[in-house]
Amino acid sequence: MRGLSQRPGRSLTFRSVAQFRLQGSKVLAVDMTGDAVKAKNGSMVAYEGDMTFKKMTGGGDGLRGMVTRRLTGEQMTVMEVKGHGTCYFADRASEINLVSLTGETLYVEASNLLCTEATLRTGTSFTGLRGASQGNGLFTTTVEGTGQAALLSDGTAIVLRVTPQTPLSVDPGAYIAHTGRLRQHFQSGVNFRTFLGEGSGEAFQIRFEGDGLVYVQPSERTTFGGDV
């Protein structure tokens, strides 16, 4: 899908052709000229032009990806949408956030990934304990390459920059994605005990250290941790 665009009236740019734009904050419009995008299954709400929809097994990574996903339990049902025209995607009125990748890796919970350009590779990676706390499994989805990805969040996501001087603590239920060179570990050193004894031991946070961006949603999924 990458290549020099040669259509008249367009500058010659070395980038993928599918154009991602937001229609309001909850609908993603993708303008396509014969190319393809990968999108969460069932997330198409409308389209103009000619489109074909094809279900992909194993998150679009072929047989190997499928086996990996079976093993890792990171569920991702993806469809490939291909055609000419504009396709509109939305998912249960979630807010949509666009992320432009230029070679770096995006780590994202599979349920928060709406759509990626075909130029981007998706895979899975081991996340350690964080996944376990969310019941999402120990593995998270990675998106690599150059192109655009659309993330879902419950409420408008906040993007927070982590620097070596300013580490960040995040409620595990509010975390959706991150990029950059970040180390993450559980932080439970919170002095938290109520006089009735209820709700103790729930103060888990993920601490991010290093250099990168963390995407946080203003809402919390059901978690074991993070009752602060």
Binding site: R161, V216, E220
Partner: protein, 258 residues
């Protein structure tokens, strides 16, 4: 395409909204938070459960009903802290030597300079003093001036006006249609036969939906003659939500949808 706004430890707003659903507190000392409402923070912040330890004095000053204190934590330290509640709209309010009564489930956080008290109206709490607090609502909050009649489920709270009362549509209840309905059960109710009425000087806060936010227990007032709802859980006011019974797991139960 414009990229999203990237915030860091310095550029997060100071005691202001990050977006309609998230509020950033510039913590320098203490704040009270409802449990589970902190989504991220920079800096050195410790969270303490309420009702024990070195904070007893401040809690005495700010909490006047020990029974709801279990739902609150104290954030103490220095840094920027982002608060949010299930992607509901979040707003901050400033009180200056004022009072504001708010539905208990809508209150997220407040400065210790304010005092939190149980309202005489079951299911509501009153904040008194000078300071800032943060409240959530299902849809943006609309401010209205009395006289006004309000769907009970849409009421978030009110400031100053000390006259919340019930209003019944007697014309409907005694009228022809009501009679037909009583005789035949046919015709149904409009769903608007009963409202809360406010008159006098003040401000009424409404949310944009009649869907209630989950109620938080406000504690049980003493079982005395003349105390509304005395001795019974306050959450039963006119709520479909279940009151917390002894033996239930409370928050944990809610979180797991039991």
């Amino acid at each position: 395409m414009n990229g999203p706004v990237i915030h860091d430890a310095q550029t997060l707003p100071v005691n202001d909204n990050v977006n309609p659903y998230a509020f950033s507190v510039d913590l320098n000392g203490q704040w009270f938070l409802q449990k589970g409402k902190m989504v991220a923070y920079f800096g050195q912040i410790a969270f303490h459960g309420i009702g024990h330890g070195p904070l007893d004095r401040i809690i005495q000053a700010s909490f006047h009903s020990p029974l709801h204190a279990q739902d609150w934590v104290v954030a103490e330290g220095h840094g920027r802290m982002v608060l949010a509640d299930r992607a509901f709209d979040v707003n901050s309010y400033d009180l200056e030597e004022g009072n504001l009564t708010v539905r208990s489930g809508n209150l997220l956080a407040f400065e210790p300079s304010l005092a939190l008290k149980q309202s005489i109206i079951p299911g509501f709490v009153t904040l008194i003093g000078t300071g800032k607090f943060v409240a959530a609502s299902n849809g943006p909050v609309v401010f209205a001036e009395p006289p006004i009649r309000v769907d009970p489920q849409a009421l978030v709270g009110w400031a100053d006006c000390p006259s919340p009362c019930h209003h019944y549509d007697h014309q409907y209840m005694r009228g022809v249609l009501g009679g037909v309905r009583m005789l035949t059960g046919f015709g149904g109710a409009s769903g608007e036969e009963h409202q809360f009425e406010f008159v006098g000087a003040g401000t009424v806060l409404l949310q944009s939906s009649e869907r209630l936010m989950e109620e938080r227990p406000t504690g049980t007032p003493p079982d005395e003659a003349g105390v509304p709802q005395g001795g019974t859980p306050s959450t039963t006011a006119n709520q479909p939500s279940t009151p917390r019974l002894p033996g239930q797991l409370g928050d944990l139960q809610r979180r797991f949808g039991l």
